[in-house]
């Protein structure tokens, strides 16, 4: 069993597991931090950006792709754990010769589609007259200013996919439900489990009858909107692959939400605008719910909230129909029947308005001061670029960063100098190290495998020994482009014994509670399933006919006799011989045992602890008689 590690990003993993001749890709996250190397793509021609010295707008859409560690066309299935971890799917399904199946839950697919749609839309609506790629050449890259000069594997950066590729990729997905057992080629069973992090987010169990690998990716124990994490089913794993822990282990999400609300209120009360760069799904639902409870008490009920994204409407609508994937509280609302999320009410009362983009209706409705939720959190493309340009010069305004995926300082770099306030309230509900060690104690895997980043404290806080995984035996770590041999040996495989065969078995008790039965049966293997059937009855000799060739008589040496065990008590053996008509028996003691002599028959039987040797003349009748008498004292296996 091997694990091929294709991504070095711990929260956007991409690993390939080879297990019982099945090749399973676990997630395909897309590391978009490389976009920070590019200038923002403005919706409106910005004289400031285009006049920055020495730089023209180059191909602003490039992403880190996979290495050539493994032939991706050999991947049998891809398991997706949540919508953030499927963003690279079109690159794999459309460009590598992949012919397998992708498994994901319905919310993951629907929301993943929205995220991809938004991304494609953001990029495509600002087409560039020219694109450059020659700079990726190593010789030229060397001459470029830092940090581009130092960027690794630039050649793997790719252009953004198209909507057509997205649709084609998504059509390869098969929908699954939590706790659904999916058979892969009869050899391996995979099962998604609720992971508590996002709508439809899942951890996966990959198991055969005797081995179990758990893949934990992006899990949360906090009670937000999704169904709680299923921990019990992770128990008894041989290997637990742990990825997607919180990116901000020192921040408490609850505290951050409080800070978010108070900063928002403060800015708005002072007549400023609030910009929240965000993804169109996920934490935004929780933020809207908090604001729903908060705005009246904070006196903000007259402030408009705008949610601007090409998929804003879809995201809000979809969130309301996935009752089965929500936490208990939200499910019970559906029974009333009421929409599970209160943003339905915010929309109804006109407090929250959503628009596909800043063009069109929005420009008519736009009132300030206001709160705007929009993407993309990298500040490099999407409507957020416009608001940064619009509001950046006034210190009344505030931008609040809630998504933890990008360094906010780097994201802000091209907009400097900025007058607007910048607040960093990263909300990452994924497991922190305390929760991880509790989880590992609870589910007790034999081995833990994780990205190398988790086995040491973060570089910026190297003294914080609590910010790393602590378990026994120590976790095996991996880094990008590494192949790990997972530490377990398969010993057993399931086989089915047909009832007719089972009836014919004769068990004998060897020790109290332990019985044995020798089995001789025909093995049938089909679709990786093994079945034992009773051996066919020996063909009846067709009476009277003389066999023609001597070779017909030659026994098939592959008809195996059972092994023997036990020992022969000499006295009893001699008695038995006498009972069967042998006389003239003489017993001699030797160093290791005895020799029984049948003088008349010129036969010698050496009996030792672990062996019996019958030496006789060529008298088959006699030999067979003696053999059967000896066998009476021995057990067959």
């Amino acid at each position: 069993m091997k694990l091929y590690c294709l991504s070095g990003h711990p929260t956007l993993p991409c690993n390939v597991l080879k297990f019982k001749s099945t090749t399973v890709m676990l997630d395909c996250g897309l590391d978009m931090t490389s976009t920070l190397n590019f200038l923002p793509l403005p919706l409106v021609q910005s004289p400031r950006l285009s006049n920055l010295p020495g730089w023209s707008l180059k191909d602003g859409n490039a992403f880190l792709d996979k290495t050539e560690l493994i032939d991706l066309s050999t991947v049998d299935v891809i398991l997706i754990s949540n919508y953030h971890c499927m963003m690279a799917l079109p690159y794999i399904t459309e460009h590598t010769g992949f012919t397998g199946t992708v498994y994901a839950t319905e919310p993951t697919v629907q929301i993943g589609r929205l995220l991809m749609e938004e991304l494609v839309n953001f990029i495509e609506r600002v087409p560039k007259a020219q694109s450059a790629s020659l700079w990726k050449n190593k010789d030229i890259q060397r001459l470029l200013p830092s940090p581009l000069k130092d960027a690794v594997e630039v050649s793997t950066w790719r252009r953004c996919y198209t909507m057509q590729e997205v649709n084609s990729a998504l059509s390869k997905i098969q929908l699954v439900g939590y706790s659904q057992k999916i058979e892969l080629f009869g050899a391996v069973q995979v099962t998604p489990l609720s992971s508590g992090y996002a709508l439809g987010s899942s951890n996966w169990i990959i198991q055969s009858h005797y081995e179990k690998v758990s893949y934990v990716s992006g899990s949360s124990l906090l009670t937000t909107h999704p169904q709680p994490m299923d921990q019990a089913s992770l128990k008894n794993s041989d290997v637990l692959i742990l990825t997607g822990l919180t990116q901000i282990p020192t921040a408490n999400p609850d505290g951050m939400v409080g800070e978010f609300c108070s900063n928002l209120a403060l800015t708005v009360r002072n007549g400023g605008n609030v910009l929240v760069p965000c993804y169109p799904s996920g934490v935004i639902y929780d933020l809207l719910e908090c604001l729903y409870q908060y705005i009246d008490s904070a006196g903000l009920s007259s402030i408009p909230f705008y949610f601007i994204s090409p998929v804003a409407n879809s995201s809000l609508e979809f969130s309301q129909i996935f009752a089965e994937w929500l936490c208990h509280n939200k499910q019970t609302k559906v029974y009333l029947p009421e929409p599970p999320f209160p943003h339905a009410e915010l929309i109804q009362t006109n407090k929250l308005k959503h628009y596909p983009s800043i063009h069109g209706d929005f420009s008519n409705d736009f009132r300030q001061p206001c709160v705007v939720f929009t993407g993309h959190p990298s500040l490099r493309f999407g409507d957020v670029v416009h608001f940064m340009e619009l509001w950046g010069k006034s210190s009344l305004n505030t931008v609040i960063f809630t998504e933890p995926d990008f360094s906010y300082l780097e994201a802000l770099a091209p907009y400097q100098p900025l007058a607007m306030k910048c607040i960093y309230c990263p909300i990452d509900t994924r497991l922190n190290f305390i929760q991880v060690s509790k989880l590992l104690k609870e589910v007790q895997p034999l081995h833990v495998v994780c990205p190398e980043q988790y086995t040491q404290p973060p570089p910026a806080q190297s003294h914080r020994m609590d910010l790393m995984i602590d378990c026994q035996p120590p976790a095996m770590s991996y880094r990008r482009a590494e192949v790990l041999a997972l530490p377990f040996k398969r010993r057993y495989e399931k086989i089915e014994i047909m009832p007719e065969l089972a009836d014919s078995l004769v068990p004998m008790e060897i020790k109290p509670g332990v019985s044995l039965a020798t089995v001789s049966a025909v093995l049938h293997t089909k679709d990786n399933k093994h079945v034992l059937q009773p051996p066919p009855r020996p063909a009846q000799p067709t009476g009277g006919k003389k066999r023609k060739r001597a070779s017909d008589d030659i026994p098939d040496c592959k008809v195996l006799k059972p092994l023997l065990s036990g020992s022969i008590p000499v006295d009893q053996f001699v008695q038995t011989l006498e009972k069967h008509g042998f006389s003239d028996i003489k017993v001699e003691d030797t160093a290791k045992g005895h020799i029984v002599l049948l003088q008349e028959a010129e036969t010698l039987i050496q009996i030792e602890e672990d062996s019996t040797h019958i030496i006789c003349d060529n008298d088959e009748m006699l030999r067979v008689r003696l053999r059967d008498l000896v066998l009476k004292f021995l057990q067959k296996f």
Binding site: G177, E324, H524
Partner: protein, 599 residues
């Protein structure tokens, strides 16, 4: 001998009061817990005393499964769990869990408040009963206990309807509940994988009907409604609040929009508003088209269909009214029917199945003079139309499902005996499987022969698989091993490993036979002759002449020695272990016959 036992307490050769007991591998499961619409006495609920006379139901039943929210499948549930007493788990899908208590409450109101029945379950009992419900997702494998697992499949019949697979080890039963094999305007088609259950329990409402295409039926329906409205008549469509109602609403809504019709469409109030809301929230359970377009246009937000008020029934002019309940046995639909029945301009369209004893059934069977309460006789002059919009599978659909699931046996419930008989024959002919149709209280017993799963050591398995990739029909290869049974842990290992694991030493049994040969030559030459002789006879075996002068055949050792007394005789010592018994014995007899003369 293990067996599966099935006893219908309701829905055996009957429609209504669905309740089927299944015993499989020592587990007892109750499928559905319905009421009968044709009765208002004791017979309306299943006779639960059949399950156990003295003991508690909870001790006897491992779980209860409800297939969908129709009252003939869940109507007796609060009575069963709260009045008879059952505290175990009740499984149903989430939409069923949401809608079921509302229908039960409605049913209770009609029974207690309108008919004044005493000793009926209370609202509180409905709530307590629903607390015992565990929601099941589609395709999720729910582990009821360590051995019993259930899995739900999409059934299409109404929102949240499911078929259930009940599985213990390698034995399984599939219960379809009610299902529909053709997608309609708001639901998808039932689907099941090739799960090869030991038994498929299927509904057979339309066992003998093969419905014409859905499109024709819809066109007919719309034409009739349109004609009636055009000539100023009123159309009454009795429906149940959830299910067909939404289907027909979507149909009329789109028709009205397309034709730009002005006649009002009403929906009798009460459940409707709420019902439509459920449909909006459970979009993933509807069909593909609705799921794809719901963001732009939610099909369950109707523009042309308004809430009905009692007073509207007397207003003049054409109108279309959907009213509950669907079989005209009580409530608003019956009231409106009585008002409109006398006018031949009007029309009543029955869109679904009617249980015997209901007004719906009477008018459909051609009765035109109905005796109402108080000895009144109601003359029916309005047109009576029947349009099968029931979302049940027809005969073709049932056959299709049997083909999909590939069961070993089929059992029919939820249908009429005569029609079942016909379908039973058809299934037995076409699929060559046994088909049963027990009456209520009658038990069907099916012997099963489950195979036994054991763990085989990979070494043994690989050794065996490496030997023969192509199975030979004439000479099947045998796998030899030892089955170690320790508690409930069964493992098949090679004999060597079994000995080792149990700490037992192998006992070697060896034979050495002296074969006397007349040969005057030297021992070495005798050995050479033996070698060439064996080599020519035993072509398939490995015969070797070793440097020390001995000859081996596989692992059998043959040595030639001089006779101590007779120089003209040589002694061959043939030595083999018990494991080579056949070959050793064969060799001695072969050598005894002597060697061929050297040429």
């Amino acid at each position: 001998m293990p067996e599966i036992r099935v006893t219908p307490l309701g829905a055996g050769q009957d429609v209504g009061r669905s309740c089927i007991l299944v015993s499989i591998a020592g587990k007892n499961v109750m499928l559905d817990c319905g009421m009968h619409m044709g009765f208002s006495d004791d017979r309306r609920f299943p006779d639960f005393s059949y399950i156990t006379r003295s003991g508690r139901l909870t001790d006897f039943l491992d779980c209860v499964i409800i297939s969908h929210f129709h009252l003939d499948h869940c109507g007796a549930l609060p009575y069963f769990s709260e009045m008879v007493g059952y505290d175990g788990p009740i499984y149903m899908t989430q939409p069923t869990q949401a809608i079921c208590p509302i229908l039960l409450e409605d049913y209770r109101k009609i029974a207690v408040d309108k008919k004044g029945e005493a000793n009926f379950f209370t609202s509180q009992m409905i709530k307590d009963c629903m607390k015992k419900v565990v929601a099941v997702h589609l395709h999720q494998t729910v582990q009821v206990d360590d051995e019993l697992e259930i899995k739900a499949y999409y059934a299409g019949h109404v929102l949240g309807a499911a078929m259930f697979q009940i599985k213990v080890g390698s034995e399984s039963v599939v219960y379809t509940g009610d299902y529909n094999m053709t997608p309609d305007r708001h639901l998808g088609a039932a689907w099941i994988d090739k799960c090869r259950p030991n038994l498929l329990i299927t509904e057979s409402t339309y066992a003998t009907t093969i419905r014409d295409s859905k499109r024709c039926r819809e066109r007919d329906f719309l034409k009739k409604v349109h004609e009636t409205v055009e000539r100023g008549g009123k159309v009454l469509i009795p429906v149940f609040a959830l299910g067909r109602a939404q289907e027909l609403c979507i149909l009329l809504e789109t028709f009205w929009e397309r034709m730009d019709l002005k006649a009002p469409i009403y929906f009798s109030t009460g459940l409707t508003e709420k019902a439509n809301h459920y449909y909006k929230l459970f979009i993933p359970w509807t069909n593909q088209k609705i799921r794809k377009t719901f963001v732009q246009r939610n099909m369950f937000e109707f523009k042309h269909i308004k809430a009905f008020d009692r007073a509207f029934a007397d207003s003049p002019g054409p109108m279309v009214v959907f009213a509950t309940p669907g079989m005209l046995h009580a409530g608003q639909s019956l009231q409106i029917f009585r008002k409109w029945a006398g006018n031949e301009k009007n029309m009543v369209i029955m869109p679904g199945y009617c249980v015997q004893g209901t007004v719906g059934h009477k008018i459909l069977s051609g009765q035109r003079k109905l005796e109402m309460e108080g000895r009144q006789v109601l003359e029916v002059k309005m047109q009576v139309e029947y349009m099968s919009f029931s979302a049940h599978a027809d005969a073709k659909g049932i056959m299709q499902l049997v083909g999909q699931a590939e069961p070993e046996n089929v059992l029919l419930v939820h249908g009429e005996a005569k029609k079942m008989e016909f379908l039973k024959q058809k299934i037995e002919q076409e699929f060559r499987v046994s088909c049963y149709m027990p009456a209520n209280g009658e038990t069907v017993t099916l012997p099963t022969s489950p195979s036994i799963p054991v763990g085989v050591s990979l070494g043994l398995l690989k050794r065996e698989m490496a030997q023969g990739l192509l199975p030979d029909a004439k000479k099947p290869r045998l796998l030899h091993g030892t089955l170690i049974m320790k508690d409930s842990n069964f493992r098949l290992v090679s004999s060597e490993q079994a000995l080792k694991e149990l700490g037992l030493a192998e006992h070697q049994l060896r034979f050495t036979c002296r074969v006397h040969l007349h040969d005057t030559r030297k021992e070495q030459e005798t050995a050479v002759r033996v070698y060439s002789h064996l080599k020519s006879v035993l072509k398939d075996h490995c015969v070797q002449h070793l440097p020390d002068g001995s000859v081996t055949v596989e692992s059998i050792l043959i040595q030639a020695a001089a006779h101590s007394e007779d120089p003209g005789t040589k002694v061959l010592l043939v030595s083999w272990t018990y494991q080579d018994e056949e070959l050793g014995s064969y060799l001695t007899s072969l050598l005894k016959k002597g060697l061929p003369q050297a040429s």
